[in-house]
């Protein structure tokens, strides 16, 4: 016999409902709440993980895993949290996304799959316009350069630029002071400036 959800979303009011309420509604059996939560945050998760992935397929895979892990974390924590506090679903999601991205990067480096090269050198049945190749090369360079940053700087940069999170949110997600997040961002930008300048010099030669 199918169980009835304890909480159910009212149609048309999904956008006004908090993440916490949606999460609780889904975990008590309301499938619509799941869809609303995923739709609400899927773009954020995707843009965060695609920084670490050379192929869109990998980024989609990581996005899906991030949601599944966040829901699993919510299911485990809900009995402990009870009615005391809201489920920090978005914060979990962002943190899980970064961790999945970092793990993916580590694995691809370990297995030397060279996915960054694959983006450009992938065999294509039809001739690729030079403009597309150039754009792909630029994207590869961009990705590789940002991934060369030290981990903390990279995380702050990704959250601020890709995720469009405020410095306060970046600091909260990473568990650091806002001033430290800003300092890391400044270092990241200075370092990127040097790296891009160096690569420009190399091209000239």
């Amino acid at each position: 016999m199918a169980t009835q959800p304890l909480l159910r979303l009212v149609k048309g009011e999904e956008a006004t409902v908090s993440d916490d309420a949606l999460c609780r509604a889904f975990l008590t059996g309301d499938g619509a709440a799941f869809g609303e939560l995923v739709s609400r945050h899927q773009r954020l998760v995707y843009v965060l993980v695609r920084r670490y992935c050379a192929r869109p397929e990998d980024a989609f895979d990581l996005t899906q895993r991030a949601f599944l892990q966040a829901f699993e974390a919510a299911r485990r924590s809900l009995p402990r949290l009870g009615r005391r506090g809201p489920v920090p679903f978005r914060a979990w999601l962002v943190r899980i996304s970064l961790n999945l991205g970092k793990n993916h990067l580590r694995q691809t480096r370990r297995w030397a799959e060279a996915p960054l090269e694959a983006l450009v050198h992938e065999a294509s049945p039809t001739p690729v316009p030079s403009e597309t190749v150039e754009r792909a090369q630029q994207e590869r360079l961009t990705r590789a350069t940002v991934l060369e940053l030290p981990p903390r700087q990279r995380e702050v940069f990704t959250l601020r630029i890709d995720g469009d999170l405020s410095f306060a949110e970046v600091a909260q997600t990473l568990g650091i002071e806002e001033s430290a997040a800003k300092a890391s961002f400044h270092c990241a930008v200075r370092r990127l400036r040097e790296l891009f300048a160096a690569s420009k010099e190399e091209k000239k030669r």
Partner: protein, 167 residues
């Protein structure tokens, strides 16, 4: 505003922070070094930015909720790995107990102490085996003969008087 202050402000501006621009403009107009830094920051940030999502990516994102929910429900239907191990361990324990019970019915020694057993009597089967090994005594066996030889009659003869007896 110093050059160091200006650089920090320029990076913040690059990050999209809302700032008071009047002092910045005054410094930039007078400082070529900071103007060059501003250009470099803008360039680095624009280079580091990933391109907007393609149509294919947008389309795939639209179907993400449905596919993720399907994966979640499929995982829910599968037995949890820990629960499966617990079920297997329970089954093994029950099986072991049943086997032990059956064996203990067959052999009374199963489950007893490992201390050496003191035998106080022979079992029926063992006793009959030992009796079968012993030879049956014959009716006129040497033992009976010996008993007859030492049999003393209750009536004594005269010769049977001992020294000192009075006749």
């Amino acid at each position: 505003m110093t050059c160091d202050d200006c650089e920090a402000v320029l990076i913040d501006r690059g990050a999209g922070e809302k700032l008071e621009e009047a002092a910045l403009r005054v410094h930039l107009s007078a400082c070529a070094r900071c103007r060059a830094f501003d250009e470099a920051v803008q360039e680095a940030l624009s280079l580091a930015e990933l391109p907007p999502l393609s149509e294919a990516e947008e389309k795939k994102l639209e179907g993400l909720a449905g596919s993720t929910l399907a994966v979640w429900r499929a995982a829910e239907r599968r037995p949890h790995p820990v629960r499966r191990w617990v079920a297997l361990a329970t089954a093994a324990c029950v099986g072991g107990l049943v086997t032990a019970a059956v064996l203990s019915q067959r052999s009374p020694r199963v489950g007893r102490s490992l201390a050496p057993e003191v035998r106080t009597s022979l079992g029926t089967e063992e006793l009959s085996w030992e009796l079968a090994e012993l030879p049956l005594l014959e009716e006129s066996s040497p033992m009976e003969v010996e008993l007859a030889l030492y049999e003393v009659p209750w009536t004594l003869s005269d010769d049977s008087l001992l020294e000192g007896d009075v006749k």
